[in-house]
Symmetry: C2
Subunit: 342 residues, 2 copies
């Protein structure tokens, strides 16, 4: 792998020095024909002001050029900003899939072969795990009647029934307690950190599963609504004490291209050294505006309760969503599963 | 699925003995002569009972063959089982990186270029997010004195100071509350589910960051110990109310190959339709045995408190670890950050 000491590393360093030295964003790579530049940057110019040049020098083949362009376009659409993609970047295919991620809710009828699913489970469970405790479980809900019983609890998501695969990622704090019993040790960690570790482990495994699934051409959509009626879902899946659902996931071969979900700019979510909320309100206003241009909301949430507003955006939608209690009983469910949460 | 006691297990063991070669590590398959390859694939053919043929037929080029072999080898080592890898699998490079994941704690001195890091942040934050709420923040601790101040709180991990990059992934329940205020809406979700959503969102973003980092040749290691002294870490990073650290992450170009961490067999962590603990105790005994063969523990944990045992394994180690309270004050910290956790 190229670091900055290797030959590729030197090229990377030269690229960044070039890009940074000329005002940060406006550096120009040599050996680009005008025709190529015009073709490639026509789209980019529309939303952006003088971003970095594309990596389309004569040494790149068409496939690499496409991959680099996909990364830049996807991130520009998602964050409303330009990103430099080094010409010699290894793993660009994988970065392109990560950058172009979208949730898929419509699937072709083609089944996902069981052996492929098993391969993806193994890849997913290769994720890091807090203290090597391995507190994530996957329940593959293969029985369609059981899937339907779960979906019946989520009235606004009947489309889940049509997904070829439905999984539920669970946190499992139970195994470590069982192991303690078998090894004659007390269990001294009945507190919030322990609960959170299992929830996060399940999240890591789900994210890793999504990556593996997208690598092989599948699409997926996380379903946190499996927690809307946690007792019932737990009963349907026979989850014992100290095992709890974190999220469902639908999986299948996508029937549609899907859409990139625009994200808050990195100035809001990435901080250097200290948490920083400067200009947050203005940035959220800008983000609302950018999203409205890209993908306006079709309906205003809770329209009976609130009057329609002309510039309905992300922040108004989220403020309305969290003005109404949602899963207020999840804590009681977790405590009924015998967690203390101290 | 075959354990190491079965016929397939014997073949696997032979395979690893061969692959380990000089260093006692099965991480990298050495260059094999044709004769060796033929012997290996003959073994695998024998081991497979009617499954699809191995993907080393004449139609595959050497690079594809190597990738498929890497996936099989990594998962065999990790799970003690054989996995079929379809010959025509798209995205096999990415699956190979996922399957071969390892945590890295030693890095070369080469810095990670700022623009590359920014690209990886954007990729990471392309992860799915619960209800599109985007409750994950990344703090890039760039100031070495601040890194040192955090590492001083984790006495057994001084190596973190030598990592070229140190990040802290945080859950942020604050923004949604601010947005509610700005939009004149009450906040009606002060409960456990809401806290968990932000923690899991941070986990998703960290996992996605690790994938993006490994794609470009970097290595990483999650550090949950940033929660050992959460008040101090929170002060050092100026985390406001409703923002909390989920995990740190060291990042850099790996200086060593690293080791694959063996995992519980899929029979333990993957369930069909109903949570299933059949034969759990035996399977954990088998797993302890398999791990001991692959990577025995160098020390027995809390050896002053417990007598040394001859067959020290994963379950004994984890039972000892959780017999002692760890982060019992994290709940108090989260409540001091004004969470209710109902």
């Amino acid at each position: 792998m190229p670091g900055f000491g290797s030959e590729k590393g030197v090229i990377l360093r030269q690229f960044f020095a070039l890009a940074q030295g000329k005002g940060g964003r406006a550096a120009v790579l040599p050996r680009r024909s005008l025709a190529k530049r015009d073709r490639l940057s026509a789209d980019r110019r529309r939303g952006h002001n003088g971003g970095p040049p594309p990596c389309d020098d004569a040494n790149m083949d068409a496939s690499d050029r496409t991959t680099h362009e996909q990364i830049r376009q996807a991130l520009a659409e998602r964050f409303g900003a330009e990103f430099d993609v080094p010409c010699t970047l290894p793993g660009a295919d994988e970065l392109a899939r990560i950058a172009r991620h979208r949730s898929h809710r419509k699937y072709r009828a083609d089944p996902v072969p069981p052996e492929l699913l098993r391969l993806l489970f193994a890849c997913a469970l290769s994720a890091p795990s807090k203290s090597d405790l391995q507190q994530a479980d996957i329940v593959h809900v293969a029985d369609r009647a059981r899937v339907k019983a779960i979906v019946d609890l989520i009235p606004d998501m009947p489309w889940i029934n049509a997904a070829p695969v439905f999984l539920v990622f669970c946190g499992n704090n139970r195994r470590i307690r069982q192991i303690g019993e078998w090894r004659g040790k007390p269990f001294a960690n009945d507190h919030l950190d322990h609960f959170m570790n299992a929830a996060v482990d399940a999240g890591l495994v789900m994210m890793n599963f999504i990556r593996a699934a997208e690598a092989v051409g599948l699409g997926a959509c996380p379903i946190s609504a499996v927690r809307n009626h946690p007792h019932e879902v737990s009963n349907l899946l026979a989850l014992p004490d100290w095992v709890f659902p974190v999220a469902g996931l639908t999986v299948g071969y996508p029937a549609e291209t899907g859409r990139i979900s625009a994200r808050l700019p990195l100035e809001v979510t990435v901080h250097v050294d200290r948490h920083d909320e400067r200009a947050l309100e203005r940035r959220i206003d800008d983000y609302d505006r950018r999203r409205r241009e890209l993908q306006p909301y079709r309906r205003q949430r809770h329209s009976g309760r609130y009057e329609d507003v002309p510039d309905y955006g992300w922040s108004e939608d989220k403020a309305r969503q969290y003005a109404v209690p949602e899963r207020a009983d999840f804590g009681a469910f977790i405590r009924a599963k015998r967690f203390r949460l101290d």
